[in-house]
């Protein structure tokens, strides 16, 4: 099934610069419906607000709620548990990748990353576009 580029994407990061970078890269890939959140708890609130999202792209190291905890909350929520979730983080140790995978992450991108990697991971999670 073709990916609907009109889907709403939620990007979560506590660095405004990174939010802007990901937003611009997504826009270049043809995704224009983008919302932002500055930490896991704000993201969770948006995800539960009734707006339908097709993808979450989240940082890990944020306060007060980390991306890992957000991921666990999403997977534990009956309405959200199937949500595609890509972690984009500077946490680059094997144990981080394993912990994220065990929590149910869809894919994992190590910062700094390029547009090609972002697109490849989105394709692996959503399908080709």
């Amino acid at each position: 099934m073709a990916v609907d580029k009109n889907m709403r994407v939620l990007i979560v990061d506590d660095y405004k610069t990174m939010l802007r970078i990901i937003r611009n890269l997504l826009r270049q890939l043809g995704f224009n419906n983008i919302d932002e959140a500055s930490d896991g708890s704000a993201a969770l609130q948006q995800l539960r607000s009734g707006t339908t999202y097709g993808l979450v792209i989240s940082d890990w190291n944020m306060e007060p709620m980390t991306g890992l905890q957000l991921l666990r909350e999403v997977r534990a929520d009956a309405k959200l548990k199937a949500m595609p979730f890509i972690m984009v983080t500077a946490e680059s140790k094997s144990e981080n990748v394993i912990a994220a995978k065990e929590a149910g992450v869809s894919n994992y991108i190590v910062k700094p990353f390029n547009a090609e990697t972002l697109k490849a991971k989105m394709v692996s999670v959503l399908g080709d576009f």
Binding site: L25, M62, L68, Q69, E91
Partner: protein
């Protein structure tokens, strides 16, 4: 020596004359030195429990030495010298700690360093914002350009966006350095506290580290909402070259779960 005696009295710990006056050695009893030392240790334990402030040890050693008299064996003399060296070492260490001006380190140097690092983050963030503004302006002009030119310019702006992610990484690295500075501050406090807590008025609880957290936790990250205890150890931020795994390694690791 007078100043040290005053310091001992100020500490409210009497460890000078009592040991000498009440010592069997002072009465000239010919007991082995080792037995005398054991007596002194038992006496200290009875008074203060198992923990004796490091700064008081010098006073205890002085009192012990002052109480020694009578015939000494060669072994006693060797031990005597070692104890004397220990007393000298402690005094020297105390002087060096005092010369460090820990208050300056805590109140001036470390905050200044943290402020400078914050300024670096702010200036790089501002500069990155300007660069992104410019790149977005270029993208706005792509409409109406020939496809080839538009595509080449879009590729260039993509590279600019990718390069701008340095600011995020820099910010996280600087945060790690600031945490390290806080840890150094705690260690300086601890060192001073171990020698002369009352004299320096060092606070006993550090506001920077929640009770019960390990040094490793204080150095790495902070617990966030809903974090499990083990999650804190996963917050390490950007790794140095050679420590960080690459995207290919991540992909290989994820593939093992499939």
């Amino acid at each position: 020596m007078a100043a040290e005696d005053k310091s001992s009295q100020d500490n409210g710990v009497d460890h000078g004359g009592d040991f000498a006056a009440g010592s069997p050695g002072a009465a000239g009893t010919a007991r082995p030195l080792a037995a005398m030392i054991e007596d002194r240790i038992a006496e200290i334990r009875a008074r203060q429990g198992d923990t004796v402030p490091l700064g008081d040890v010098a006073g205890v050693v002085r009192a012990l030495l002052g109480s020694l008299s009578g015939d000494l064996t060669a072994e006693d003399i060797r031990l005597y010298r070692e104890v004397e060296d220990l007393a000298r070492y402690i005094q020297s260490a105390k002087a060096e700690i005092a010369a460090l001006n820990p208050a300056d380190i805590r109140e001036e140097f470390l905050p200044t360093a943290a402020d400078e690092l914050d300024a670096i983050v702010q200036s790089t963030e501002a500069a990155t914002g300007e660069i992104m503004d410019a790149a977005e302006s270029i993208e706005d002009l792509l409409v109406g350009l020939p496809d080839d030119a538009a595509e080449r310019l879009r590729a260039a702006t993509t590279r600019i966006y990718e390069a701008c992610s340095f600011q995020d990484i820099t910010g996280q690295r600087v945060t790690k350095v600031v945490r390290t500075l806080k840890s150094i501050e705690e260690r300086v406090d601890g060192l001073v506290r171990a020698f002369e807590p009352e004299r320096h008025g060092i606070r006993l609880e550090s506001p920077g580290r929640p009770a019960g957290t390990s040094t490793a936790q204080a150095w790495s990250g902070v617990a966030a909402t809903g974090d499990r205890a083990e999650d804190v150890d996963l917050l390490n931020g950007p790794q140095g070259q050679g420590e960080a795994i690459k995207q290919d390694d991540v992909d290989a690791l994820l593939a093992k779960f499939d």
